[in-house]
């Protein structure tokens, strides 16, 4: 483990950003989001969840896929892909770090999404351990240890020391480029870090959502959960916006649309939300006719369908963004609670 005084993080960031594009939590407009590092940036390492999740870097809200030219009856395809810039994201919390596993399951499974893969290979994730979890946090429910996140490099702030530990070859390579700013951690530092982890885990256990029971969810319960009458009650407040899906680090549904620029056609991919009425709309009708079905789809996907296809892995990481941001305060925690009863014995 390496260490650095918290007052010297500016040097670390400057070194890192010299090596590759560096993104980190920066405050602006009253919110903290991952933004590109500048010496003037108001870096906030104390803020837990950024307003937008880390998925922005791997699945951007919109991206051009391909362009077309039409001349008479002829069509030509223009593949003009920008090469991926190497980058690092600093300050990724444990929940977001785990969300990348979920995304990998989708985009790196056959056939591989080459856009995603390119960014994944070019991005180094520097996660940051939590020490003051919020009441909306429930990553522990999904077996995530917020005190010890995953990532290429794991950083933590203990008192006024920033601890740094490379965990993967990519992380070690990056550490090599900035090793001069660090000094090796002493046994005391290690002990202090361990002590902090213990305290954090203790707080995690006391959080209001820590008691959510997830073991009654998963693929075995598909039809029982799907047919539960409780959905009919839960969805009533849902206004059908896409806030929960867009702030979610694991919501990966997308749409592909064409934009006619007047001298060609750009085909782009953009985030989409299963909460929208046009999500499944076809020329001959819509299989999900009301908000009830759309609302149910989102939670069934995260808690039942995804585990069914991915060895039991849930596609929720308990970051709590939807809990904090839903306009009507309906969220996955309430859904888990309301349907937690095992329906088939």
């Amino acid at each position: 483990m390496l260490k650095l005084s918290i007052s010297k993080t500016g040097e670390l960031f400057a070194e890192l950003s010299a090596a590759r594009a560096l993104y980190l939590p920066v405050e602006g407009g009253g919110q903290t989001t991952f933004s590109r590092y500048t010496p003037e940036a108001d870096v906030r390492l104390d803020v837990l969840n950024t307003a937008r999740s880390v998925k922005d870097f791997f699945l951007p809200q919109t991206e051009d896929i391909v362009a077309f030219k039409r001349a008479g009856k002829k069509i030509s395809i223009i593949e003009d892909r920008a090469s991926d810039e190497p980058f690092a994201v600093f300050g990724v919390r444990a929940c977001d770090a785990r969300s990348l596993d979920v995304m990998d399951r989708v985009f790196l499974s056959d056939p591989v999404d080459t856009f995603y893969k390119g960014r994944r290979e070019n991005g180094v994730v520097i996660s940051l351990a939590c020490s003051e979890p919020a009441e909306t946090c429930f990553c522990g429910v999904f077996g995530i240890d917020s005190a010890e996140p995953q990532g290429d490099v794991v950083a933590s702030i203990v008192g006024d020391t920033l601890c740094w530990e490379a965990k993967t070859p990519a992380g070690e390579k990056l550490t090599e480029t900035v090793k001069d700013v660090f000094s090796p951690a002493s046994a005391e530092d290690e002990a202090a870090a361990e002590a902090q982890k213990k305290t954090t885990r203790e707080i995690m256990r006391q959080l209001p959502l820590a008691g959510l029971k997830i073991d009654n969810w998963g693929s075995d319960e598909l039809l029982e959960k799907f047919n539960s009458p409780i959905w009919g009650k839960l969805y009533q407040g849902c206004i059908g916006c896409g806030t929960c899906t867009y702030v979610c680090p694991t919501c990966q549904c997308y749409d592909i649309q064409d934009f006619d620029t007047g001298h060609g056609v750009k085909r782009f991919r953009c985030w989409d939300s299963c909460m929208y009425s046009d999500f499944t709309l076809m020329a001959h009708g819509n299989p999900r006719t009301s908000q009830l079905e759309r609302f149910r789809q989102r939670f069934m996907h995260k808690l039942v369908y995804f585990p069914a296809n991915n060895d039991g892995m849930f596609s929720c990481v308990g970051c709590g963004r939807c809990v904090a941001k839903c306009p009507i305060s309906m969220n996955i925690a309430k859904v888990i609670r309301a349907l937690e009863v095992r329906t088939n014995g």
């Binding site: 362009a67 003009d80 620029t261 007047g262 001298h263 060609g264 750009k266």
Partner: protein, 150 residues
């Protein structure tokens, strides 16, 4: 950015013209051999009231540097009151564009009757000058429509 052979900027302008008056006014301007810039593209609408604020914005998206709407003089609407409604709408829209920091000289409303070929040409010349002095529209543009490829 479209530039003529002398190297001066030639703005793209979209003019929404009411079928019953301004469009005929434009016609008259043409048949009277009055000059106005060829960069003004006229879109004929059944009434100035047909012009949705979206049309204005879409014109800017497609690369217009200025958008003007022409209709019958208040009181002369073919449908009695269409232009009165259009007037309120456009006033509010222009106020909003100004509020967002978009140059107000890029939008305009002018009442031109079928007999006012002279006024039509004059208005267009004047508007083109204003837009020309403002330069290329950068504050409400869609870069995708301005790129040369794709």
């Amino acid at each position: 950015m479209p530039i003529d052979e002398k190297g001066t900027f030639r703005p793209k302008i979209v003019a929404f013209c009411c079928n019953w008056c301004s469009y005929a006014g434009a016609d008259l301007a043409g048949s009277s051999r009055l000059n106005y810039p060829a960069d003004i593209k006229i879109i004929r609408v059944p009434c100035s009231c047909r012009v949705n604020p979206l049309f204005m914005l879409r014109a800017f998206q497609r690369g217009a540097d200025g958008v003007i709407m022409c209709g019958c003089h208040p009181g002369d609407c073919h449908y009695t009151s269409g232009n009165y409604f259009a007037r309120r709408r456009m006033t509010l829209l222009f106020g909003m564009l100004d509020y967002l920091g978009i140059e107000k000289g890029r939008t305009r409303v002018e009442w031109v009757s079928a007999a006012e070929g002279q006024k039509f040409a004059g208005t267009m010349n004047q508007f083109a000058e204003t837009v020309k002095s403002l330069g290329e529209c950068r504050r409400i543009e869609d870069l995708r429509c301005k790129e040369s490829v794709g």
